[in-house]
């Protein structure tokens, strides 16, 4: 399976056989209070459909999203609203991007919040908020491959580009748990900024970035040593949550949550290069870059919308209505030629 990043860069260069130059994408938004996924056509700048996750909005909520390496499957972590124990609603749901149909539902464990996919597409990793654990599942069968103790109130989760390491954040203990996938072992826990939310690896896998909501910072971790080597201060009132990197990995986009801003961090200097506030929707909880890196989309939890950012001007160019309580946003690849 070709990693999505390589695929997208190749598509941008017009060099993938069979894909032509027409490969497009859709934006998927998990609507926490609608129990649904909004589907957005970025070219039309409009919501074009909804995927129902449950007929019981208010009881069941979709939150974290992840995309398979080929971009063709979106995975959603689904749970109830009482993060105390495992419930029948707790699951990982797979959605086929081509058809927008749910193709699989796997039992996950206690209250999965965010989800990540291994680079080979074979493993699903989920943070289990209720039980202070992370779980690995076989992506094809849903079989549990391992379950691991983490910090308290597990949230962000990411798999390194080489598939060897998984980082899991825990918001109450302010920690990141390191799991080695070769022998499925917890290597260590490390202290990061206050209330860590999301985690993302750099493109080369040498660094990882952890957003600290109350700290107002990004902790930069040296992955080979699992040590925090730098802290990016986003500003006094910053409340960073979801993150994404541009295709080259030069800029880290950080959703500002309660600050209603997007921070753009230059990963070479570890400094804030841009702060986008004007016309932003309220409480952006997550952000994702388009495959070509020319647009960014945010999931705005309080304004029930997606803000569209032009990454040339670093400005908001549009708002697209979504469902109630957008939590996460990801991009799925559509093979338009087929």
């Amino acid at each position: 399976m070709i990693p999505l990043r390589h695929l997208l860069l190749a598509v941008a260069a017009g060099s993938v056989a069979g894909m032509g130059q027409a490969a497009g994408y859709r934006v998927y938004v998990s609507d926490e209070y609608n129990a649904a996924i909004s589907i957005i056509d970025p070219d039309r700048g409009a919501q074009t459909g909804t995927i129902e996750i449950s007929g019981r909005p208010g009881d069941v909520r979709p939150r974290g999203l992840a995309v398979s390496p080929d971009g063709k499957t979106i995975f959603v972590s689904v749970s109830d609203f009482l993060p105390r124990a495992e419930s029948p609603e707790d699951a990982i749901v797979a959605i086929d991007v081509a058809t927008n149909q749910v193709t699989a539902t796997y039992r996950a464990g206690g209250n999965p919040e965010r989800v990540a996919i291994s680079p080979d597409g074979r493993q699903i990793w989920a943070s289990l908020e209720a039980t202070a654990q992370a779980v690995a599942l076989d992506a094809a069968t849903g079989t549990q491959l391992g379950i691991f103790p983490t910090g308290i109130e597990t949230e962000g989760i990411a798999v390194s580009p080489d598939g060897q390491i998984v980082y899991v954040t825990a918001e109450t203990s302010h920690t990141v748990t390191v799991i080695r996938t070769s022998d499925m072992t917890v290597v260590t826990h490390l202290l990061v900024g206050n209330r860590p939310r999301d985690v993302i690896f750099s493109r080369d896998g040498q660094r990882a970035y952890v957003s600290a909501e109350i700290g107002g910072t990004i902790s930069v971790i040296d992955v080979p040593s699992h040590e925090v080597v730098a802290t990016v201060n986003l500003g006094l009132d910053a409340r960073p949550v979801g993150m994404d990197l541009d295709p080259e990995g030069k800029f880290l986009y950080v959703a500002g949550g309660g600050t209603s801003a997007i921070y753009v961090v230059d990963t070479e200097t570890d400094r804030v290069a841009h702060v986008i506030k004007e016309k932003m929707g309220r409480r952006p909880w997550d952000v994702v870059l388009s495959p070509d890196g020319r647009k960014a989309f945010t999931a705005n939890g309080l304004s029930d919308s997606v803000s569209v950012i032009d990454t040339d001007c670093m400005c908001v160019t549009g708002q697209i209505p979504a469902g109630r309580g957008p939590h996460s946003v990801r991009v799925g690849v559509v093979d338009v030629a087929n």
Partner: protein, 347 residues
């Protein structure tokens, strides 16, 4: 007057050049500079809320509802007084004695199954008097102190956000606790609003309005939104705004190294009091150290150094329960464990 612990603050300022204000960028850090005073003020706020809940649950709107939760509040009332009893006795012994008697009367009515409204109202009134005796209203850092109290009322256990999460699951006492805590937040905000810019004020009012929608009246609405965390987002956002408005760090655990150092300093002061034969002051300081420890660093230590967490919890319990003899025996190990906790965060 109140134990604002200038010595501790000065020592911390020397020991922590990268402390909370340096780390967060805010001009003030009330939870760093006056942890004892704020722990006592927060305990008084919780006491008032718990007593108000008991008064309200005696009323007709709650007739027939099992008041088990209100009884639990009575236990909480008596536990909380330990955080300020000695300090209050030093500055206003009459209020302290009357408050103890009111709490005793409240316990007796609870035991007898009688309506607790009368003694509970006495507790509310005396807690207000205690607050005035312990906290000087015209102190220069009053806005930061009041903002810190608002943060505690919004985010701590028993506060607005946590109470809402419990209320959604059908706990009427929790709903009332949230309602009264929010009323106090609104009252404190009216005193602070003048420090805000028009935009900050509008944003804060919007967050308060969102919280008000969740607590529309003294009785729970017939149907509550089933999202336990729904109050947390506006509460957190409001605290963030308050930080900007008063230019103060309002999260006591933002700087964990500083937090564990504060716990150690307060525990050391308590140990010294106990060793000197002042059991009341010693226990008070150790209760405050325990409360601060539980609130700020215990959960992180549980992950990074679980053995230390157990050792510290056991040490605090043993010193509090055992008096001066235990202090002499246990305190050195306890203080060493707290110092090791700080090292665990720094490594």
């Amino acid at each position: 007057m109140l134990r604002i612990d200038p010595l501790t603050g000065f020592a911390l300022a020397l020991l922590l050049p990268c402390g909370a204000d340096a780390q967060s960028g805010y001009a003030a850090a009330p939870f760093r500079d006056m942890p004892v005073a704020l722990a006592q003020a927060a305990a008084l706020e919780r006491m008032k809320v718990a007593a108000q809940v008991m008064v309200a649950m005696s009323g007709s709107a709650y007739a027939g509802i099992d008041d088990t939760e209100a009884g639990q509040d009575d236990d909480g009332l008596r536990a909380g007084v330990g955080l300020f009893r000695s300090s209050l006795a030093a500055v206003a012994p009459d209020i302290g004695e009357r408050l103890d008697r009111a709490l005793e009367a409240l316990a007796e009515t609870a035991e007898q199954g009688a309506p607790p409204a009368g003694p509970a109202q006495d507790v509310v009134d005396l807690a207000r008097q205690a607050e005035r005796a312990l906290l000087t209203p015209d102190r220069p850092d009053a806005p930061q102190v009041e903002a810190a109290l608002m943060a505690s009322l919004l985010l701590d256990e028993g506060g607005v956000a946590e109470s809402y999460a419990e209320a959604v699951q059908g706990d009427p006492a929790a709903y009332l606790a949230g309602w009264f805590a929010l009323a106090r937040v609104n009252a404190l905000w009216r005193g602070l609003a003048g420090h805000a810019t028009p935009q900050q004020s509008a944003e804060a009012e919007a967050m308060l309005a969102m919280l008000g929608d969740l607590f529309p009246g003294e009785s729970p609405p017939p149907q509550m939104a089933a999202y336990p965390e729904q109050a947390e987002a506006p509460a957190q956002q409001l605290v963030g705004l308050l930080e900007t408005i008063v230019d103060a760090d309002l999260y006591p655990d933002r700087d964990l190294v500083g937090a564990v150092a504060r716990v150690r300093d307060i525990a050391a002061e308590g140990c010294a009091d106990l060793a000197a034969g002042d059991a009341g002051a010693g226990r008070e300081m150790l209760m405050i150290a325990t409360a601060l420890y539980d609130r700020t660093v215990a959960e992180t230590l549980a992950v990074l150094a679980p053995d230390l967490r157990v050792a510290i919890a056991q040490g605090l319990q043993a010193v509090r329960a055992g008096g001066s003899t235990a202090a002499v025996r246990v305190c050195p190990d306890l203080l060493d464990a707290l110092a090791a906790g700080r090292e665990a965060f720094e490594s």
